[in-house]
Point group: C2
DNA sequence: GCAACGGCTTGATCTGCGTCAATTCCCGTC
DNA sequence: GACGGGAATTGACGCAGATCAAGCCGTTGC
């Protein structure tokens, strides 16, 4: 694989603290690949041979059953995903596809497992990472089970706005149909929920959301760190991404799970 | 704390492989306590000072928001819970209460964090444990997002039956209102769903479920290891519990998350 | 023995969200 | 600037599951 992105990967919480030699071992065995949009990278049920790292572009994690399909996360650079499956040497529970032209790095899970047996720092980083992932899914589950569709949307909008510099206006980082799927509803329902929130403090114009009455929105969403995050010690990989979000820029950070999977 | 249960704890996947000295350190600082039914052990939002281990009885993990409440898991001996919060030194995302007279062991999370920094075996066990927990919640989320209430119930029944020795008849290990909450529906809806499944292969008589037509049930639930588990390498703590489940005995194992949390 | 209390069931009704179908909007392409 | 195709919206309608309100039944306590 090319060396250009090594520093980026090295900066990931997962790899930041490990010994240089071990980092070299892991990355030497890895290789990177660029895919066009809409390519399925992972098929749920397949065995987890590689840890994936998104370097450029974006990746959707989703799962299907009986012809239905649901989005579980959308990842942007630089994040890793399907760590848990690699560790357990078990079948992936999710599928993954590129949403646009995307470059990913593939780390053989064999090497991964070998290294965190001998590198305590890496083991610690893995533990922290997994705990974060776990808490992220728990939050999502609570969101689904405790809130209505409208409440989930309001909470999502407030959460996105929180990461935008001005705090009131931002562009949706993903297509609405994906957001709908992530929120566990249909695109039609999302559309109607959006409309209903316009009378309550969230102006919608295409991809742009403008919060006109935060209080009113909060009265619907009742945001809480116990559902909407973030974990108090800050995000992980998603945070690496500096980039703005000023009016006019799309925020490239994760919209879903706190970091990766 | 008393020493009688040390061997049980030592046998947990989480503690099985660690060095004896470190196990002693962890358990020396721990203490155990017995609570009556319906005592709240953990309040979500509080900081995670202790890893909990259920020794006797049973514990419900749940979460609330705006007066609503949902069950996320029910744990039986011997299982640990809220490991992730301890690791991240973060607020609990779930509350916990005893369902009956219950004995738990409390391990200060400070000691825990200290030990897996120095004991690679324990770090490995923690990684495996967390990965299992993570996959368990992902499955639950897929269940909720991809299946209808009726389908979830059918899948649950098949899953329970799978663990029963004769494979066709078992007693519900928990109250129906808890099962309903876990499945994300109301008790009334559960009751109606049960009734509707009687015409499809699952006879219900109080706590007893008898599968009369597995094929028909499977046609509703379409069970798959990618949602219903188990992870191919087998369960963890839940499995420690041998005990039967023969017609007439209640199965004491977890009904919810694969092991603990 | 009976009363009281929770859990479970059943019925009637309501409603949030899904489904189906028809436009309309947006964006890239020719 | 017209065309094509997928995304988004809108409307009409249906249904799964929630809510509200009795009643039932098994357990606990006096």
């Amino acid at each position: 694989m090319r060396d250009a992105e090594l520093p980026d990967i090295r900066q990931l919480p997962l790899f930041r603290t490990m010994a240089e030699a071990n980092f070299a071992t892991v990355t030497r065995a890895a290789y990177d690949q660029t895919f066009p949009a809409q390519v399925q990278l992972i098929d749920e049920g397949a065995t987890a041979d590689f840890l994936h790292i998104v370097i450029e572009g974006s990746v959707e994690l989703f799962a299907g059953w009986q012809g239905r399909e649901t989005t579980l996360a959308v990842l942007r650079p630089v994040s890793t995903f399907i760590l848990a499956a690699c560790i357990r040497d078990a079948p992936y529970l999710m599928s993954a596809r590129t949403l646009e032209k995307t470059r990913v790095i593939l780390v053989p899970s064999v090497d991964l497992r070998a290294v965190f047996r001998i590198d305590p720092e890496f083991a610690m980083a893995t533990i922290t990472e997994l705990a974060a992932c776990y808490r992220s899914v728990v939050r999502h589950t609570k969101d689904l089970k405790l809130r209505s569709a409208r409440e989930r949307l309001a909470a999502y909008i407030l959460k996105q706005a929180r990461t935008a510099p001005n705090g009131v206006s931002f562009l949706l980082p993903i297509e609405k149909r994906l957001l709908a799927s992530f929120l566990g509803i249909t695109p039609e329902s999302l559309s109607r929920a959006m409309k209903s929130l316009q009378e309550v403090g969230a102006k919608v114009d295409g991809q742009r959301i403008i919060i006109t009455d935060r209080r009113a929105l909060e009265a619907v969403a009742h945001p809480t760190p116990l559902i909407d995050g973030p974990d108090h010690e800050g995000l992980t990989a998603g945070l690496e991404l500096p980039e703005a979000g000023v009016d006019g820029l799309v925020r490239p950070e994760d919209f879903a799970l706190s970091g990766r999977t």
